[in-house]
């Protein structure tokens, strides 16, 4: 059965350089829906990134930054971006060739559809 999030995932996955996209429960890191590359261990990754997102959000609140809207983790060979709303986190994995500006805009747009 297709989840209501499939169109949202498909939109993000269409962006150049995006290699995976997941919607995760912010509190426990359980995957709600995802589009992953073959062989990718989504469960562990989802749990780690949702925890990282939660910590980023809490630290941002403590630092007086307000509710964090966009979190980006940059690594040597790619990046992971996350947006959240109403207890859900939308996570995208992208390679270095991805257009970060476009990915950010699409994720922030998609955030509005999370609920």
């Amino acid at each position: 059965m297709a989840s209501p999030f499939q169109p949202l995932l498909a939109t993000v996955m269409r962006l150049r350089g995006t290699t995976a996209c997941l919607i995760v429960d912010e509190r426990d890191g359980v995957i709600v829906d995802s589009t992953l590359q073959f062989g990718m261990r989504g469960n562990v990754f989802a749990a780690l990134i949702s925890s990282l997102y939660r910590k980023a959000k809490q630290s941002a609140a403590s630092a007086g930054m307000g509710d964090a809207s966009f979190v980006q983790l940059e690594a040597e060979l790619g990046r992971v971006c996350a947006v959240g709303r109403d207890g859900l986190v939308l996570i995208a994995v992208a390679d270095p060739k991805a257009n970060l500006g476009l990915l950010r805009v699409e994720l922030l747009k998609a955030r509005e559809a999370l609920a």
């Binding site: 261990r41 630092a63 690594a75």
Partner: protein, 273 residues
Amino acid sequence: MADEIRALSDELASNPASQAFLRLGELLRQRGELDAAARVAHRGRERHPASAVAHDLAARIALDRGDSASASDAWQAVLRLDPAHPGAHKGLGFIAYRSGRLRDAADHLARAAALDQADASIAKALALVQGALDQSGAAPPASPPSQAPARRSSIGLSLFSDLAAGAETVLLLDQNGLVLAGSAPVDGADRSAEIGAHLSGISEEADRAMRHLDLGAWKTIVIEGPMASAALSPAGEGGLVMVTAPRATPLGLLRRMLDRAAERGRTWLEEGA
């Protein structure tokens, strides 16, 4: 209670590897039989050296016996096994407060509060310590020289002072999220300990996530909020540097500030090692 103590003692006698020592030690502690409780906890720690709860039991018994040094050692052992153990942070915060180390107390209690939001006693203790810090003029960290080299203590407050222009917060945190240098002024109060508590473990999680994806080492984390943006990067020894700036600050400039702060933090850690 006496029957349960007898039953647990019998169980432990027939199976010394049993976890029954945890309940037995706790019951003896509650009855005020502290010497017996300490013996049980000691044997339990010897048999189960990787058990955080065994060290936690020993710490609570030591504190009841008035042995703060042993309690502190045992809770430090708990944190080496489980850095997110709220009871250990609470206990260390209490010991630090009692010995007048208000900054350390605030650090530990803020971490405990972040880890166990249901325990109202932690929030009350934190408010008490924060009030004492505010009254004392607050800023200098009260770590005794035996715990931190004097050079680090004296430089910690001013390490990033010339980088702070344009930035709201510049912080250097250790691998446990404890503040090594810098400050985070928010609404007139320094929130650095609270921020550090929330960020505890984030570097390790980023490392693990990147390993799962084969993306190499992580370089930066950028957080965007409606009022400000933050950037974090590794700073050596498992630590982190965090810089925040108003939302209007271009992200490229924020990254430059982060790079400079991270470089300075790494150098400082290397020189102080």
